[in-house]
């Protein structure tokens, strides 16, 4: 898993949120810490 052994650059990505809006990781750079939660829907 990324970053488990040493600090690694987080791969940038763009994905669509539940309202259909585009979210790009690099937009948060220098502004906020980002916590990514990978989930399985409806479980």
């Amino acid at each position: 898993m990324i970053g488990r052994d040493k600090a690694a650059q987080a791969p940038d990505f763009t994905a669509t949120d539940s309202e259909g809006r585009s979210v790009t990781l690099s937009d948060f750079k220098g502004k906020k810490n980002v916590f990514l939660v990978f989930n399985r829907g409806f479980t």
């Binding site: 399985r40 829907g41 409806f42 479980t43």
Partner: protein, 155 residues
């Protein structure tokens, strides 16, 4: 898209309750494969409801309608419950993603989901009817029921 008269590729997928459905186990019955792009959207909702509403008629014709989409089993379960679907099995073509849609030539590589399509398979496992619809269009269920009745139709 798969051609009328060809042998329908066999598959095994899980329904909304996690039970496996194998096409070849339904030999001797007519099978309607109703592919739809995405769960939780309006046209797909109406498409699945039309299968449920015609369940008794399909049963009388010794036919089984199966909804197929790329959504997961838990998503299909929640979706079926929200629509009040009890008699129609919704199959999860989730992993390998869209593999069954691909085998029937209705997977949209660019979008990651399937076409809206109805495919009728006869008692001997041959494709008797195959049609795709615009993603925003509700399929004509009467045309499909007629294909099931006559055992064939347009391709």
């Amino acid at each position: 898209m798969i051609k009328v008269g060809t042998k329908a590729p066999d598959f095994a997928l899980r329904d909304q309750n996690g039970k496996t459905v194998r096409l070849s186990a339904l030999a001797g019955k007519k099978v309607l494969l109703s592919f739809r792009p995405m769960a939780w959207t309006a046209v797909c909702h109406d498409q699945m409801k039309s299968l449920e509403e015609n369940h008794a008629q399909l049963d009388e014709m010794d036919s089984v309608a199966l909804g197929i989409g790329v959504d997961s089993v838990p998503s299909n379960k929640a979706w079926a419950e929200s629509m009040g679907i009890r008699n129609t099995r919704l199959l999860a073509d989730f992993w390998p993603h869209g593999a069954v849609a691909g085998a029937y030539g209705v997977f949209r590589e660019k979008d990651g989901f399937s076409e809206r399509a109805n495919i009728v398979i006869d008692e001997k496992g041959k494709v008797a009817f195959a049609r795709t619809y615009p993603v925003a269009e509700q399929p004509d269920i009467e045309e499909v029921l007629e294909a099931l009745r006559s055992g064939g139709g347009r391709g």
